[in-house]
Symmetry: C2
Subunit: 137 residues, 2 copies
């Protein structure tokens, strides 16, 4: 665990909102969608199968916790959960709140429209709500 560090590309594309027992929780810098990311703090993990069974169970627990928080705050039409990693090889799980009115619907979000910068006040409010739900619920 000592030699884990967040991949530079993920660091550049996100805001760090804190650590769960296994994963770092990030908000993706794209105001098109409420979009979170979980990155298990395990060096050299590329695929889900690179985690052991205890870590996989913990990851599912954390996906559930973060998904419920996102659902409570944003009331989406659908959640999208995905571990792809074709571009950034460090294992990371997307948790995205989708609306039938969002710019990519019903397609997956990747590469459909350019990212939009967050409004500073809106994202501050969103992160505060998220922290409260994830760490205090």
């Amino acid at each position: 665990m000592a030699d884990w560090s967040l991949h530079r590309q993920l660091e550049q594309d996100t805001i760090n909102i804190g650590d769960l027992p296994l994963s770092r929780v990030l908000v993706v810098n794209d105001a098109n969608y409420p979009w979170l990311m979980l990155v298990p703090r395990r060096a050299n993990a590329k695929d889900l199968v690179d985690l052991n069974e205890v870590e996989q169970g913990q990851l599912m627990t954390e996906i559930n916790r973060v998904s419920r928080a996102l659902q409570d705050i944003t009331k989406p039409d659908k959640l999208n959960i995905a571990a792809l990693g074709n571009v950034v090889p460090q294992l990371h799980v997307h948790v995205i709140a989708r609306r039938t009115s969002d710019p990519a619907w019903p397609r997956p979000v990747w590469g459909v429209v350019p990212p939009v910068a967050h409004d500073p006040q809106e994202i501050e409010h969103f992160i505060r709500a998220l922290r409260k739900q994830i760490w205090l619920s």
Copy 2:
């Protein structure tokens, strides 16, 4: 559980290869990628958070089992795991073996190129290997 049935669209797009304790295991009719799907046999489940914690843990176990089988058989460059469901609302998890030489790489597979029909002998061979790995390993 009594009133669960596979969504018509998923039935049409796949070959049923059998049931794990929670999920039906399907092969997607698209020879562009070795592409499996897990569908938890729980009526009205749309998102991961609609499963209870025991079912979520079991789903992770089944994702791991199917992923390892797919990895052993196809030796991919990357696995893609995703629960999207923007088009077909019944909860289903894609488990896709990706190669840097496949027609969508590095993009996600959805909607990039039209599906290609399987060669009957190749798919029979693949399904036999898969059944052996998933149910006997």
